[in-house]
Amino acid sequence: MTRPVALIGAEFEENLSLRYLAAAIEAHGFVAEIVPFHDPAEAGAVVARVAALDPLVVGISVPFQLRAREFLGLAQSLRAAGSRAHIVAGGHFATFEYDNIMREFPAVDSIVRHEGEHTLIELCSRLRDGTAVAGIAGTLTRAPDGIVDGGTRRLAPLDELPYPDRRGEPHEVMGVPASPIVGSRGCYADCAFCCIYAYAENADGARYRRRSPENVAEEMRREYVERGVRLFIFHDDNFFVPSAKLNIARYSRLQELLDGYGMNDIALVIKCRPNDVDPELFGLLRRMGMIRAYVGIETNSDEGIVSLNRRITSQDNRRALTVFRELDIYCSYNVLIFDPEATLDGVTRNLDFMHGFSDVPFNFCRAEVYAGTPLKQILERQGRLKGDWFAWGYEMRDPQVEVLFRIAITAFGARNFKHDGVANLNLGIRFDHEVVRHFYPDASDPAWHGRLVDFSTRVGHDSIALMREAHAFVSAEDIYDSARVKAFTLDLARRVARADLGFVGECKRLRREMEQRVVTRADDRGRRVWSRGMPPWAAESFRLGSSVGRELSTERLPAPGRLAI
């Protein structure tokens, strides 16, 4: 019997990259085992599980540059534990950093570049058959006389791929079964910071490829029927092409197909660029059940729009969010207020924009330098890269902005970047409410909705006000005075933390009230159908219990009366 193929990666939600691979190789007679790897603390357990499987191939998906060292270190640990498997790494990071990986991680036998379905099938087949693996298109393979580059592999039409593996129960949001899905790969745009663009552009094929509406609808139908999925979270990096007419035609067809299947009680989540937000198109999507759009605002500063190659205007940004307001569609956005060419005026423009749309949950950060991106090439040419191939950094050209970034990243680190930081809680409760509004309409009303919008607005205003203080500080003070900068930063960080304490408490009260509304106001059908016989908070409790990030674990302690202190 052929040994199985172990596919390792994060599975916080169904990991479509692993699950497309699993489906592809299982269609060719292999047994795929998906091995979740969420946290460095799990490395020992992952190694033990793989050892027990004794797989023919271990595939390690390295999609996040932030965790690349951790994932590649796992390959070393597997080999040290005696694994005889062929270890292959893939994903965006491995696609670009293959030479460094092969040099510094000798446990890695090969790299699969770009999309991996067909390449992995051929790799596994050759290993099963005992034939040489060097030279397979789409791979770099370690051989006795060096690394063999198999060249690129032509990208396959997406409709030809098997649907992703859907083993296990779907995760639930407020008791509603949900499923991640992609209708396309790549993006038509070419933003300088974007690893998706870099990944697609570097491959042998079109930069943006779409599945047919028929192919997408059929996968949705299966999920609807077989697993009871009602919430479809489209992870397409961009849901659209730059033509409202073509987009309307595509999604009208999808709606027609879904209507034909009787799927008129579903909800959709999508991502888009601001220039694609068209009232007619989004009115259609609203009718199809779209409850949330992530809008890639990214920057509203003049220099950022140019240096990040956004190919849009500040008017596009404002118009997009205004259309969402007018259509009463929930959205969220992120702003890269720091980029290599950021100026204090540009930061102000971004803060002004965020203030104008602070009823919409947002977050802010720096444009990071990902492998293979134009931004990396530009900074490399300018001699501005710092760090190493795992984590390139840079300094902004304007030292005042650089210090503002350093202050911000210290003071807002917990709020903006922790899994359960206020920024994510703000986004999370608004999304959960949209699920409630759609699936338990009796549990929501305009006044309640207004309270949640007010919460988001106050979180946004707090961040903006504190950032304006930091902006004023670097504008007026000696930024080279380390003691003063540190003292200001610590004071700011403490004020952010104190505000967060209040926001978390309020968010938690809102969350419990929302659960209570579902319990007491949703009709029987909603409770019975959507929560599948379990109280709606059960799914949330499960999520809490399973969210075992370092700062996410839920700890239960005995009641005070029974304490033995």
Binding site: R69, E368, R406, T410, S482, T489, A497, E540, R556
Partner: protein
């Protein structure tokens, strides 16, 4: 405990929970598209701990470059980009943190007053994590002697983006052990504060926090001051619930 059992306990209020503050997780329901935290190579250092001294004998200058970070090693990949001098020889460190790099330069002429060279190195941390760095040293010749300084030094404050993390340790009832975690093992001062309850210490790598009996959400604050290497703060929220 199954999902339903867990839910029942919550619904019935059968247990008082001291829970971290997480509600929705960003990574499991499509609710959020989290922004990327800054990529950083500061688990080791960015080469800011390299320092140099020099001696001169006629037109020969011997420069010694040391890694002053005691716990980490370094590997010199090459010495390049010389101006004002030619490279006579190098003595590379063996990989131990205490090893130094020796660079012997021959000045271009008797009137040369400045020479530069660049060290391309890899800093290596205690867990074998690495960070590639480039440092340019400036050798200044004066009648009174020879001095070496770092060029292009980041003189802005908070140069290293440091990390601090509160980790929960042992628990006994309302008493929770908190530990300060950071990948930076150099000089640092750790301090703690809480918004309710009592700490058994205000400084040190680990403290015991006795939470109040009164229900509510309480916050622990960890500040790690790394001196010239920056500052980091982390908070942990715990909720004490009614029985």
């Amino acid at each position: 405990m199954g999902i339903k059992d867990q839910a029942r306990r919550i619904a019935a209020g059968a247990s008082v929970a001291v829970a971290t503050s997480g509600l929705s997780s960003c990574n499991d329901n499509g609710a959020v598209d989290p922004p990327p935290p800054p990529l950083q190579c500061n688990t080791v250092n960015m080469g800011q701990t390299l320092s140099a001294s020099a001696t001169r004998d006629a037109d020969l200058v011997d420069v010694t470059v040391r890694n002053t970070l005691g716990y980490a090693g370094w590997r010199v990949d090459r010495v390049t980009a010389l101006t004002g001098a030619t490279l006579v020889s190098t003595r590379l460190p063996a990989g131990s943190s205490n090893d130094s790099l020796g660079v012997r330069l021959r000045l271009e002429s008797e009137t040369t007053t400045q020479a530069t060279f660049t060290v391309e190195a890899t800093m290596i941390g205690p867990s074998n994590e690495m960070c590639a760095v480039q440092r340019t040293f400036v050798v200044t010749i004066s009648p009174t002697g020879v001095q070496v300084s770092l060029a292009d030094v980041d003189r802005l404050p908070l140069a290293a983006r440091q990390r601090a993390e509160i980790r929960m340790g042992n628990r006994a009832g309302r008493v929770v052990e908190l530990r300060a975690a950071t990948p930076w093992l150099g000089e640092r001062v750790v301090s703690w504060a809480v918004t309710g309850g009592d700490l058994d210490a205000k400084t040190g790598p680990a403290v015991r926090w006795t939470l109040p009996v009164t229900p509510g959400i309480y916050q622990a604050e960890l500040v790690i001051d790394f001196g010239d290497e920056g500052l980091a703060l982390d908070t942990l929220l715990l909720e004490v619930r009614e029985a």
